[in-house]
């Protein structure tokens, strides 16, 4: 049963305990500004609403119920304690425009997170306000732009982006008014250094990279790249989506990056929430500090205060109504405190251990790694190019069939340059048994592909719905429910 909530609605029904009392008031608002129809919201009882949304939830996969080897997404355990503590009254009922004197509790957490992020990134300044990775990218590139402009260096119109980059990178660069130039990848998954050299020039504002890259391998020549880009007058942006691979082991600041974001919902384990909210704090080297987005938290003596546009005249400005996803900042802070200094580097170590172990098992079973000579970072790529050719199955089919085995599918078809790819990231919080069970399932699916490919083609079979028609969805747009008039 997946009846829509509207189909359970009846005129004049309501969740009565939730309705404010009827007030008898004469409005001094002109009648023509008042609404005279009733918005089409459900009219259901409290039990109906609770039951409907409880039941709907059970039609989802989630970390709390399934293994989620989703490359680039770092789907790891989201500590329940952290979620609960963020619901403490003092945090939850705290108005964002409270005076500083009424905000010291929250500000102390934000301030300390700023400091922790500086340490783990090797950077000099941090602003927590960006509300997701993509907004962090926007902020970062905007700072690159502000930096060049502040120096009168106005001819830099291009941002370089490897072809393996996540879609947000070019999109963010464009949103900052830049042109995007793609740099190819070499056979071992590294940036093609010659192509990079050729692309660099006085028009280069900077380059956006993640390291390890979205190909699951560490960019070995990163220091050379940094030197080349800097010599050309450009700056280096680090896409922090893969920070989990190196947390506490290697620091982007030490690699030569000037600016980066951190996906709190990945490395710092704040829950993904079915697509958000996340957090995308930015960290910068010395020279970009003046441009950080506001507000930030400063500590003066024992007290904390907000830094605003007034304190930071060169800031790229404000990116959110208040200070970004404050509750996510709080959760990331708590997670950092739970890990502590020892816990940080274990994240990268065990994420890498799990990935390399899973890779070893899959290799042994006959799967083809995209970069067979390379170590896996915290993730790695399997290409099903050959299986696709021989067995006429696709990465999509394998992914859908995995769902039947009660495993979330890996990331498919990203990065775009690897054909029929699965990007697999087990994360450090999954046990060896879980990783083994996933490997067994994938091996089993490969076996099925050989003996009974139809079972893949028609997968999933065990889920609330069979394979969905996305083409129909896009062609015959049905984006809002319209009641059938009787």
């Amino acid at each position: 049963m997946s009846m829509l909530i509207f189909e359970q609605s009846q005129q004049d029904r309501c969740a009565a305990a939730q309705q404010p009392r009827d007030v008898n008031v004469t409005l001094d608002i002109p009648a023509h500004l008042l609404r005279d129809d009733q918005p089409f919201l459900p009219q259901v009882s409290e039990l109906q609403a609770v039951r409907h949304y409880t039941r709907l939830s059970r039609r989802n996969f989630s970390i709390d119920t399934q293994f989620y080897p989703l490359g680039s997404c770092t789907m790891k355990y989201n500590p329940r304690g952290v979620h609960r503590l963020a619901f403490l009254d003092g945090f939850l009922q705290h108005h964002p425009l409270s005076l500083d004197v009424h905000s010291q509790g929250f500000m102390s957490c934000a301030y300390e997170l700023q400091e922790i992020l500086k340490t783990v990134t090797g950077m000099k300044g941090v602003s927590l306000t960006p509300m997701a990775g993509a907004q962090g990218e926007f902020a970062g590139v905007a700072m690159i732009r502000a930096y060049h402009q502040a120096r009168g260096d106005v001819a830099r119109t291009e941002i370089l982006v490897p072809d393996a980059a996540h879609g947000t990178n070019p999109a963010s660069a464009v949103q900052c008014g830049y042109k995007v130039r793609e740099i190819p990848t070499d056979a071992d998954g590294n940036v093609d250094i010659d192509a990079l050299r050729a692309a660099l020039g006085p028009q280069t504002a900077g380059i956006m990279l993640t390291n390890p890259s979205t190909l699951g391998v560490f960019e070995e020549k990163i220091q050379d790249i940094a030197k080349m880009v800097h010599q050309a007058g450009g700056l280096l942006y680090y896409d922090g989506a893969n920070l989990n691979a190196i947390l506490g082991k290697v620091r982007p600041g030490d690699m030569g990056f000037d600016v980066m974001h951190i996906n709190l919902h990945k490395t710092f384990a704040t829950p993904h929430g079915g697509g958000g909210p996340g957090g995308g704090p930015v960290a910068v080297s010395e020279r970009l500090v003046p441009f950080l987005p506001t507000p930030m938290v400063a500590k003066v003596g024992d007290a904390y205060r907000w830094l605003t546009e007034k304190d930071c005249p060169q800031t790229i400005g404000r990116l959110s109504t208040f200070m970004g996803n404050a509750g996510i900042v709080l959760r990331a802070y708590m997670y950092a405190r739970l890990l502590g200094k020892d816990g940080m580097h274990r994240v990268a170590e065990f994420a890498t251990l799990n990935a390399n172990y899973l890779l070893a098992r899959l290799k042994a079973a006959g799967f083809t790694p995209a970069y067979p000579k390379r170590r896996a970072s915290h993730e790695f790529i399997i290409t099903l190019k050959q299986e696709a050719k021989e067995l006429h199955i696709s990465a999509l089919d394998v992914a859908k069939r995995l769902l039947d085995y009660d495993f979330h599918a890996p990331t498919m078809y990203f990065p775009l340059l690897v054909p029929e790819c699965l990007l697999i990231e087990p994360t450090e919080t999954e046990s060896k048994e879980a990783v083994d069970a996933f490997a067994d399932a994938l091996i089993q699916v490969l076996q099925e592909a050989k003996t009974d490919p139809a079972i893949l083609k028609n997968a999933p079979h065990n889920l609330p719905v069979r394979r969905l028609d996305e083409v129909k969805a896009a062609r015959e747009l049905d984006l809002v429910y319209k009641p059938v008039v009787e």
Binding site: A15, D28, V44, A49, A134, F350, N356
Partner: protein, 472 residues
């Protein structure tokens, strides 16, 4: 090892399978000079018990406040069921619903949300959320710039009655793309944007932003503004409080043809104040704009058996497909907040939402009455309002608010910093959560504060109106 399940034995077996001796060997492709970050300044790890103690202390510092601040974030009653259900692991810890068959819960919920939000705005379609109200307005402006083929110069009219932080954010975001934001002053008597005052900008306007209620809590004449925009072939962008739309005419109903795009802050619909976030931005539009709509959109379709199901659709607008040519760079959005809002709207229904708006109206007026009974406290704008009001105090607003803070009263938002022309003015809010006892307490303490420091502040003049007319 918090959250890491590996036993020593596991590690040994796994290393053997990989064929290395120790975990550090797995990092051997990383130049040695880069390895070994110092974490010395990070504190030692805490147990959950220790963290709980720490966070309780921190939370307590900011606790037990009687809040009359609104200014873009509103304290409303949130039924317990909303976050109880939203916090279920299946919503909380799910990823973006790219694997549709394994995400029917979230997808159906989003489809229901789109239906509710479109209807609340009286527009055809809704996306599945943006970051927050301010960034949603920035996206709406970008959308208008992309869509309006009549306008060449990307000129956006932005009333100063729009939330000042929204204006800052729009500037920071769209400013990078050569879009001009023209600020329009407000009528100092009414606190609204007069159509007459727009006339002087009436040349190649891309879009007009129309707030309802506006930042001062005042109700704008949205019909006239919308009609004016359409006469200029400009796109009418509504930025509204969604709660108010159960009572006030909704964007799609404004003027002759309705606003084209509506956006705003979803927080009033079931999202706690929480220091400012996570909230979510909503964005709705007429259907002709749907391909310019940024963010995720869910569509209803069928599965291989012809059974109803839901998928993300029109993904070709998005960065993971269209990359540099996407409608926006947004990827992770604010899905969980939409989950809460959808449950909230289901529990409130049309009647609950309307009654909430009415209770806010009533309470704000009651608060106004009790505060303006204090000598020297005056209403600034002679206009209908909803749940917020600008009051002029006889003394320095910053001092008064600091003094009230000592009684754990949050007296409102000081307007002098962003509107210097509104010198001693404070924006005060009362939602349905407040009682007459709360109002009495506020009034009593305000009176006490004002009389205590009367001597000191006697020198202050009422120069507000003068400043204001200068249009600072």
């Amino acid at each position: 090892m918090p959250f890491i399940p590996h036993t020593k034995h596991d590690v040994q077996t796994m290393l053997a399978t990989i064929g290395v001796d120790k975990i550090d060997d797995l990092f051997d492709e990383i130049p040695a000079s880069l390895r070994g970050a110092s974490l010395a300044s990070i504190p030692d790890g805490l147990t959950e018990m220790e963290l709980t103690r720490l966070m309780r202390e921190r939370a307590k510092q900011d606790s037990d406040l009687l809040c009359f601040i609104g200014a873009g974030a509103y304290e409303h009653h949130i039924p317990a069921a909303v976050w109880d259900v939203t916090s279920r692991g299946e919503y909380l810890t799910a990823y973006t619903p790219y694997q549709a068959e394994a995400s029917q819960g979230t997808l159906q919920l989003l489809y229901e949300y789109q239906t509710m939000m479109s209807s609340l705005m009286a527009l055809d379609v809704s996306n599945a959320s943006l970051y927050d109200g301010a960034s949603a307005l920035a996206e709406a402006v970008l959308m208008a710039a992309r869509s309006n083929k009549n306008s060449k110069n990307y000129r956006i009219l932005m009333p100063r009655t729009v939330h000042p932080h929204y204006r800052d954010v729009v500037r920071a975001i769209v400013g990078q793309q050569g879009i001009e934001i023209i600020e329009v002053p407000f009528d100092p008597r009414t606190g609204t944007t007069a159509v007459a005052s727009l006339q002087k900008y009436a040349n190649d306007i891309t879009a007009l932003v129309i707030p309802q209620p506006n930042f001062f809590g005042v109700i704008e004449d949205v019909d006239a503004l919308t009609n004016w925009a359409h006469e200029q072939k400009a796109i009418a962008i509504a930025v509204v409080n969604p709660m108010a739309m159960a009572l006030l005419k909704a964007p799609g109903q404004w003027g002759k043809n309705g606003a084209d795009i509506a956006c705003g802050e979803g927080q009033p619909l079931g999202v706690p104040l929480a220091s400012g976030g996570p909230y979510y931005g909503f964005l709705c539009c007429k259907k002709e704009f749907v391909r310019q709509l940024p963010g995720r959109i869910v569509g209803r379709t069928v599965d291989a058996d012809g059974k109803q199901g839901f998928v993300l659709t029109l993904q070709a607008r998005e960065q993971h497909i269209r990359r540099a040519k996407a409608t926006s760079n947004i990827c992770t959005n604010q899905g969980l907040l939409v989950t809460a809002s959808t449950i909230y709207m289901s529990l409130m229904g049309p009647q609950g939402l309307r009654r909430t708006a009415l209770a806010c109206y009533q309470n704000a007026h009651a608060l106004r009455d009790v505060l303006t009974a204090i000598p020297g406290v005056e209403v600034v704008f002679a206009s209908p309002m909803l749940h917020e009001i600008v009051l002029r105090l006889p003394q320095s607003v910053d001092t008064v608010l600091s003094e009230l803070a000592k009684f754990n009263i949050q007296g409102g938002y000081a307007l002098n910093h962003v509107y210097p022309e509104l010198g001693n003015c404070v924006l005060v809010c009362a939602t349905e959560t407040k009682t007459s006892a709360d109002f009495a307490k506020y009034a009593e303490k305000l009176q006490q504060v004002l009389s205590k420091s009367k001597g000191v502040h006697a020198a202050f003049e009422k120069k507000t109106l003068v400043d204001c007319e200068k249009g600072v």
